[in-house]
């Protein structure tokens, strides 16, 4: 029996603002964190438990907001025991001096109103040392059962206002859930919130499944399945949970699929007589085009965000290296230049970096480089790290880390593009091959 968890459909309505008090104040440096390679002291913030009017999810929502922010490594919560002020009225003026005294740079207040199966969550963000709110207060309404998503929306707003980056907490990840011993591993497709909550299974464990990939709209996934006995690409529509085989071509194996940004083309690898090349297929017309033609292994294609180019890996030089070619195919230009083997290139949704797996000296690394191969930076290192996927804002990467030995197992990890905030993503069992979906509406 399999549960299919469908993505929630959300419509966002912006309503007229509610006027409130508090005059803007000036200060030299606005509250702002810039995500770069420099040393960053996490920004201390206070977040008193959101006020609750009916219902019992206010504490849980506050906890998720705090966990989202702290998980970035950019924010550090001040222990509530240190708070001088208590917030007992969401609309009362803020006692800035009390928050300055404990060095809270940011203050987050919130209020949760629950009526039956509906909740309304309002929050305000304050720049304490400027004696001023940072942006407008906002209110999110939805089903009580969606309280985690609403909490992520609140945290996304706070993250974006302070970092200037696009949000990413309210997003989902498809991955391969693993069970059983190493020599009899069971694998099934699963989907979860970015933080590991709300897991649902998309396939049962009867066939090996590998490397799912999200469409940019988040409505479909591509993956490789051994359902027929041979590895074949399948496309699943998440709303129905139904899947179909793609590209039934002459050859033994299709794998490594990836959607184009517009979702209409799939680039993938096709193996024929032992040789693997990259092809593309139009989902609307079914037309197939061969993009590479070499006796070497060409695989793991990934489109640039504008759809004009494809990064891929090839061992034509003797070992795996990363190349970029036009989306219509061609020889490609090698961009990776360091020691070791480079593989699984994935173009950032922002277009500024390509994430990759590197093997060198018996270890695996996740790294990023500019799209011309410059500024290579390794973010992680272990016995086996592989398969990066980008958060929708292009500032965080999730990947698979596998531990060695007979009892070794795979786990999902997350790291930001400066190499900070490396942490495991909690999943119930072993997990691999994450693919991060878009920000939910």
């Amino acid at each position: 029996m399999t549960d299919i968890l469908r993505p929630s459909r959300l419509l966002a309505l912006a309503l007229a603002g509610i006027a409130a008090l508090s005059a803007p104040a000036l200060r030299a440096e606005p509250l702002r964190i810039t995500i770069d390679q420099g040393d960053i002291q996490p920004l201390p913030f206070a977040a008193p438990t959101f006020l609750s009017q009916g219902g019992d999810v206010a504490q849980a929502i506050t906890d998720v907001v705090i966990a989202d922010l702290q998980g970035t490594g950019l924010f550090a919560q001040i222990a509530p025991a240190a708070y001088i002020s208590q917030v007992s009225d969401f609309d009362a003026p803020v006692a800035y001096a009390d928050w300055k005294a404990i060095n809270a740079q940011a203050l987050i207040t919130g209020r949760v109103i629950q009526q039956g199966d509906q909740i309304s969550v309002a929050f305000r963000l304050f720049d304490v040392f400027a004696d001023a709110p940072l942006g407008d207060g906002m209110q999110f309404k939805g089903a009580t059962g969606d309280w985690r998503r609403i909490a992520h929306k609140v945290a996304d707003q706070i993250y974006s206002r302070i970092t200037g980056e696009k949000p990413y907490f309210d997003s989902r990840v498809v991955f391969v859930s693993e069970s059983g011993p190493k020599d009899a591993r069971k694998k099934q497709l699963a989907i979860m919130d970015y933080d590991g909550a709300n897991v649902g299974f998309l396939t049962d464990a009867s066939s090996i499944v590998l490397a799912p990939r999200f469409s940019s709209k988040g409505d479909r996934i591509l993956y490789t399945s051994f359902e027929t006995g041979f590895p074949r690409i399948r496309e699943m529509t998440l709303a129905t949970g139904k899947s179909r085989a793609l590209a039934d071509l002459e050859g033994n194996m299709t794998f490594a699929p990836r959607f184009s940004p517009d979702g209409d083309t799939v680039a993938f690898s096709l193996e024929q007589n032992g040789n693997t090349d990259i092809f593309s297929m139009s989902l609307s017309s079914g037309q197939v085009q061969q993009l590479t033609n070499a006796p070497s292994i060409e695989t793991s294609p990934s489109f640039s965000p504008d759809g004009s180019q494809i990064a891929f890996e090839s061992d034509r030089s003797g070992g795996q290296q990363i190349y970029v070619m036009p989306a219509s195919g061609g020889e490609g230009t090698r961009i990776s230049a360091g020691d070791g083997r480079y593989s699984t290139p994935v173009w950032s949704p922002r277009g500024d970096y390509i994430a990759f797996t590197k093997q060198n000296g018996g270890r695996f690394y996740i790294g990023v480089m500019r799209t011309d191969g410059s500024e290579e930076r390794l973010l992680t290192s272990s016995y086996l790290d592989e398969g990066p996927t980008w958060a929708p804002n292009g500032r965080v990467i999730m990947f698979t880390r596998e531990s060695p030995g007979a009892a070794g197992s795979a786990q999902l990890f997350s790291v930001d593009i400066s190499g900070r905030a490396l942490h495991p993503v909690p999943t119930q069992g072993a997990a691999s091959d994450p693919a991060w979906g878009p920000l939910l509406p």
């Binding site: 309304s120 059962g145 590998l210 027929t228 041979f230 018996g362």
Partner: protein, 170 residues
């Protein structure tokens, strides 16, 4: 001015649908059927006409150097015997299963396993086995048989296994 704007979330009911996966093992269609499970019971390893003789006495597995699909002299010797047996037993077909060790990325290892399976298949063809009786499949690094994480296990996992199937047409 401090404004509050409101965003309303309408959430569709979560629906469930039966999984449309057939109740089939991952190795089912090709790999499993090609395994020694049923066929091995036909005869013992001392019966030269038995699949058990093929797998155990001749050896159904060949091994490869790291990141290579070139056949070593040892591999060629085993495949030569496999080919002779297959020529003498035309009622069997075979699926050559290619595998890689865990020291590689998942998709590359699928391609590498395919290369290894093809390399073994071509050697069998060159030694008289009709190509129509042979198929290949790659499992990449998905099905290790030795579980430690050092070379003693890796070398066992870098393999191509010739799995017999009774009957024509693979």
């Amino acid at each position: 001015m401090q404004k509050i704007s409101t965003i309303v979330l309408f959430v569709a009911a979560l629906a469930t649908a039966a999984c449309n996966n057939p109740n089939r093992n991952g190795m089912g269609g090709a790999g499993g059927a090609g395994g020694m499970g049923g066929a091995g019971a036909i005869g013992s390893a001392s019966d030269p006409n038995s699949p058990a003789y093929f797998s155990q006495t001749l050896g159904d597995m060949v091994h490869f150097v790291v990141d290579q699909s070139t056949l070593t002299p040892e591999a060629q010797a085993i495949l030569t015997k496999q080919a002779a047996w297959l020529v003498q037993h035309p009622n069997y077909t075979a699926i050559v299963q290619g595998h890689a060790d865990e020291q590689g990325t998942r998709e590359y290892n699928l391609a590498l396993g395919a290369r290894r399976a093809e390399s073994a298949k071509q050697f069998l063809i060159a030694n008289g086995v009709s190509g129509t009786r042979l198929k290949t499949i790659s499992y990449g690094k998905e099905q290790p048989i030795a579980l430690c994480s050092d070379e003693s296990c890796f070398q066992q996992n870098r393999r191509a296994k010739t799995a017999l199937q009774l009957g024509g047409g693979v």
